[in-house]
Structure formats: C-alpha cells, structure tokens
Symmetry: C2
Subunit: 146 residues, 2 copies
C-alpha cells in the first residue's frame, strides 16, 4: 500500500480542517456583515440554549463537544455581553443553570436565517443523500473515538 501514510495525513486534514474552517469563517463573516456581534462559538452555545433553556454547563459540554473550561469561558463572555445568565440550581448547588436573556433571544431568528443561507451555499450541488451519508461517517468517527 504505497504512500498510505500520506493519504491518511490528507484525510486527517480534511476531517479536521478544510471544510470546517472555511465554513466557520464564512459564517462569522456573514454574522459580522449583518451586524450580529457574536462569535460562531458563542452562537453554537446559544443554539443549544434556544432549543432548551436552563441547561447546566455540563449539558452544554455534552451538546457542543467541548470541555468544561471552554464552556466556562464561553459563558463568561456571553454573560459579559448580557446574552445569558448563570443561575445557581436550588436542587444541586454545584450546578449553574444557564438561561438566555431577552437580548440573547432576539438573536435567534436572524442567526438561524444566516446559518441556513450559509449552509445552503456551502452545500450547493451536494445531494441530500450524500449529506446524510457524510454526517453518518462523521458521527461514526466521533463514536469510534469518544
């Protein structure tokens, strides 16, 4: 199997880099152009809170595949911008429950719009079936490693 190692390296860079950085960069740019002043990382956290409010930080770690310090700091910044609030849980005082503020809620519709547009652009010409298969492969990679 000649040059197997090189093909692996290229595959690695595809999975970890090419598409994701291009997509992230484009979405960030579209946010900025539209006057939406959050990072895509912040958006990826808000996204899960819009779906369900009052999650713990650990819940957000699981949902966004980040570690705890990353979530701590993302929430620090989101709190600074008054987009979310940390509320200590009454049942378990170790936990913070995270709630979206009114300001944070107002970002939901415009950013969903932008994300849809950007994803549609990114996936133009890709059949739905291929998208599903690609997603399944990435899920499998994740499951194999987690």
């Amino acid at each position: 199997m000649p040059n197997n190692q090189f093909r692996r390296g290229e595959l690695y860079s595809f999975i970890t880099g090419v598409a994701s950085t291009a997509l992230a960069r484009r979405l960030q740019k579209n946010f900025k152009q539209d006057g939406v002043d959050i990072t895509i990382e912040q958006w990826s956290v808000l996204y899960h809170l819009w779906k369900q409010d009052g999650q713990s930080q650990q819940d957000l770690c699981n949902a966004t595949f980040r570690d705890k310090p990353s979530i701590t700091r993302l929430l620090d910044n989101l709190e600074k911008q008054k987009l979310v609030r940390r509320v200590a849980s009454k049942e378990d005082r170790r936990m913070n429950l995270i709630y979206v503020t009114e300001t944070g809620r107002r970002l939901q519709d415009p950013t969903h719009e932008l994300a849809n547009q950007t994803l549609n652009e990114a996936l133009e010409g890709v059949p739905q079936a291929d998208i599903e298969l690609c997603k399944a492969v990435l899920q499998r990679v994740y499951d194999n490693l987690k």
Copy 2:
C-alpha cells in the same frame, strides 16, 4: 419545511466540530503518550514539509488552509523547538523558505505511524467508498465557500 433551521444548525456543528475535535484530541493524546512533543497543528505543518522541503510560508498557508499570521506563529514555535529553519530566499527577498532540521526529520516515521493507527481506529467500520464520498462532500463545501 419544519425545523429546517435546527437541522442546519446540527449539520453545521457536525461539519465544524464533532468528528474533528474528537480526532484531533485523540491524535494529540497518542502523540503525547508516545513521547512525541508537538501539537497536531505543528504536525500538520511538518507533514507538508516532509513531503516537500523548502516551501515558502505562503505555500504552507495554501497547503494547510491557514492564514498568514497562523503560519508565522506556528513556525515561530517550530523554530524555537529547532524542528525547522527559516532561510531567506535569494531570488525573492520577501520570502522565507522553510526547511526541516535533522531533529524535525526524525519525527516523520513515528508520527506517520501514530496518525495511521489513529485514523484506522477512527474509521473502523466505515467502508472505503463512504470515506471517499465524505471527503468529496467536504471538498465541495470548501470549494463552494473559498
């Protein structure tokens, strides 16, 4: 099209996050366990230099899909660790040509080994045809956006 926005958001997080962070983290861990003291980002640069020595920083930007400041700083760190050398080009004095040192060269075989093992583990149970298709989708996403 109900909940289209949520499906897009999940797709986004798949493309940009799930598999790539898991894979990067695992590879970094395997490097560390084997006493290979470089980050995966440094590895991704060395990988291209092992294939072809003496590339310019701009070449490395194109090969690794990073911007110029990122490459500047990755090379700063790689130079500090004496894994590469910057040599000013004689033809065009704006350019640095990057060469792998003997120390850097010695990392090639063990890291290729580790990358292969990790990728094989990550892709276990995924048919080769699906891998190719997934790669093609990601390439298409990149081409659509670049």
